[in-house]
């Protein structure tokens, strides 16, 4: 016989196809890419596309309401050099991002060390500690708005009652006051993250190491530096970098508390970009350029973070 019935041929082919697919799926690299594809898709759709669109928009004079704008090259970026508010924005963002972090780190470490001690109701307190972190920032910021209110502020009320001040403090009324107030609210919100992360690290410190060091003659402080700190160092570095990145890219707290005021003096990148791009002027191109100025700083910080994580894995 030299010819086979057509049905058999079709069957053989379909078998071959199925075999081939099965073989293909058995290959580890293929499977790996297959499993990663949903993640990649989400990244492409919601991260990469907006990012590259943002870059494109920053190179045009596009405004809200108009379908598209003209290509203007780097004009948006260079124009910002002459913008006094933008200068303030850069300074504010660096103050906001870098000044708050040491406080958060120190307070978080202190809290973690306290909560690592044995005492009654410890677990309740540990859970309560997380509250500032769990509560949506928009909501907690409203509470801070009330605390900082020019007329109703309980802080002012207390200080007046104790006779320490004569009249209410304008917490959000001047640039200096407003920035300090913003930083305090940010420290309040960010400290639990440090505390919880460091607490987790502290619990990974073997008790035996402390006991060995105690027998060898180390007091509490010496044990902290010789035993505790080296073990939690990695967590501290990673937490710090994350915190700088998040604070740098913050929006909600500043938007709710000051909206960049008074007189546009407390903007950070996020809020100023929103105001120029969407809120007031609707100049999408310049708004995009402002937020893209964040990119180099965040890229450098992220690179340091990734390198550090990798060096720890090795």
């Amino acid at each position: 016989m030299t010819t086979a019935p057509a049905g058999t041929v079709r069957q053989v082919m379909s078998f071959r196809l199925r075999d081939r697919v099965r073989h293909w799926l058995d290959s580890e690299p293929v499977l790996a890419y297959l499993f990663m594809s949903p993640g990649w898709l989400i990244l492409l759709l919601f991260m990469s596309y907006p990012f590259f669109l943002g870059i494109w928009i920053s190179l045009t004079d596009r405004t809200v309401g108009l379908p598209s704008g003209e290509f203007v090259g780097l004009r948006n970026y260079t124009e910002l050099f002459r913008d006094r508010t933008f200068h303030l924005t850069v300074i504010n963002t660096f103050i906001y991002g870098f000044v708050t972090v040491p406080f958060k780190l120190f307070l978080g470490l202190l809290l973690a060390l306290l909560l690592n001690q044995a005492f009654p109701m410890r677990n309740v307190l540990r859970a309560a500690l997380l509250l500032p972190w769990i509560v949506p920032t928009a909501l907690s910021s409203l509470a801070w708005l009330m605390l900082y209110d020019a007329v109703l502020s309980p802080f002012s009320w207390l200080l007046k009652n104790w006779g320490l001040i004569e009249s209410n403090i304008a917490f959000l009324g001047t640039r200096t006051n407003a920035i300090i107030s913003l930083c305090i609210a940010n420290i309040w919100r960010g400290t639990p993250f440090f505390a919880v992360a460091i607490l987790a690290g502290l619990q990974a410190v073997p008790q035996e190491l402390h006991e060995a060091a105690a027998i060898e003659g180390a007091n509490r402080v010496q044990r902290f530096f010789a035993v505790t700190l080296p073990v939690i160092k990695g967590i501290v570095v990673i937490t710090t970098l994350f915190s700088i990145i998040w604070t740098f890219a913050d929006f909600q707290l500043v938007y709710v508390l000051t909206k960049g005021g008074p007189a546009n003096s407390t903007h950070i990148f996020g809020t100023y970009a929103w105001q120029i791009g969407i809120g007031g002027a609707g100049k999408l191109g310049i708004g995009a350029a402002i937020s893209l100025y964040m990119f180099p700083v965040l890229a450098v910080l992220s690179a340091i973070l990734l390198r550090y994580v990798r060096s720890q894995e090795a």
């Binding site: 060995a212 105690a214 027998i215 060898e216 010789a226």
Partner: protein
């Protein structure tokens, strides 16, 4: 170097008594092993001595100093932990030098001591490595070295060999014995392993449920256990124990268990006669049952059916269906036994043990 005294030491944890009225004297230069099943209080006793646990009552004396309320660092002791507790971010050298640095010892002296001890332990080539780059055996040596460089009055060791594999454990055991005899430092060694206890200690303190059961040399512990617990805890396989009734008459004292009758050892007749017509617990070690296959031997030998045969190479364990329960006997590995067959068993009467069934204390 110093003696160590536990003077009526009790340690309670939330109502649980971990160590109960422990009184114990460790001589200067002695290697004392604290042994017992897990939860017996041996580790707690050691930690009380180290100062890692506050005693509830009683006193601890090191040398001629009462150290009961003195912090660990001022007790002049060094401890080797089960998991070694090496500082992970420090090199071997730094691990060993840490305690000396804290004592503000001059750098040259630290260097001299660390290198000397490292050489003694054969770890001089590892001084620049981190603990995670070492094998289990090497880590164990570093932990030991860290204790030795301090030149303390007392070494405390909490199951230091239990994380090593079987072969290395035997080897390290020998090295540790030699090292202790050479340094002559008073050593208190905690283990749950009775072989370690028997081979390493000058004397052994057996503990159970927080109470010291017996403190004696390995030989005495084995030959003259003070009570039923020590008798069954020390020795592998454990001592055979079965109840028997004491029958007196016709000038003889006999032990009757089921259909088996054993003569009392001559010198123990008086002691046993006190229990006439009552039950005692009889103990016999597996090596004191002489077994032969088949129905050979004299009439007074027992004839017991073989249940299981466990050839271990150096010896064979024969499980016999005894008058009350199973008896295990150690037999010559070259003699063949078959399950189901009868074996002839001679009991070395002179090595019999007997225990009061209520107090579980040894009669002999």
């Amino acid at each position: 170097m110093a003696q160590v005294i536990y003077d009526h030491v009790t340690k309670r944890f939330d109502g649980v008594i971990a160590v109960n009225d422990l009184t114990l004297e460790v001589k200067d230069g002695e290697f004392l092993v604290l042994v017992g099943p897990s939860g017996c209080g041996k580790t707690t006793a050691l930690r009380c001595l180290a100062g890692l646990e506050e005693v509830s009552s009683g006193d601890i004396i090191i040398g001629d100093r009462v150290v009961t309320h003195i912090p660990p660092k001022d007790r002049d002791i060094a401890m080797v932990f089960q998991n070694y507790a090496l500082y992970p971010h420090m090199t071997v050298y730094e691990n060993m030098a840490f305690g000396l640095k804290l004592r503000k010892m001059p750098k040259q002296e630290i260097d001299r001591r660390v290198k000397e001890v490292a050489e003694m332990l054969g770890i001089q080539d590892l001084l620049n490595r981190k603990p995670r780059q070492l094998s289990g055996g090497q880590r164990q040596r570093v932990a030991l070295g860290r204790a030795i460089v301090r030149e303390p009055q007392v070494f405390l060791m909490d199951e230091p060999l239990s994380n090593l594999d079987a072969k290395l454990r035997v080897q390290t055991r020998g090295e540790l014995i030699k090292l202790q005899r050479r340094l002559g430092v008073t050593t208190i060694y905690v283990t749950h392993d009775q072989v370690e206890a028997m081979t390493m200690g000058h004397r052994i303190a057996v503990m159970n449920q927080g109470v010291l059961q017996q403190l004696d040399t390995p030989e005495n512990l084995y030959d003259h256990p003070a009570n039923l617990f020590v008798a069954t805890f020390i020795g592998s396989p454990a001592m055979n124990i079965f109840p028997a009734r004491v029958v007196t008459g016709e000038g003889a004292v006999r032990l009757v268990a089921g259909d088996v009758t054993l003569e009392s050892p001559a010198e123990q007749r008086g002691r046993l006669a006190e229990y006439a017509n009552r039950e005692v617990l009889v103990g016999i070690r597996p090596e004191d049952l002489i077994v032969q296959p088949g129905q050979v031997g004299e009439d007074r030998h027992l004839r017991l059916p073989v249940e299981i045969v466990e050839p271990l190479g150096s010896e064979t364990l024969v499980h016999l269906r005894g008058p009350v329960g199973t008896l295990i006997a150690k037999a010559d590995p070259h003699v063949h036994f078959s399950p189901g067959e009868l074996a002839s068993v001679r009991v070395k009467i002179e090595h019999l043990h007997a225990f009061d069934p209520q107090t579980e204390l040894a009669l002999f």
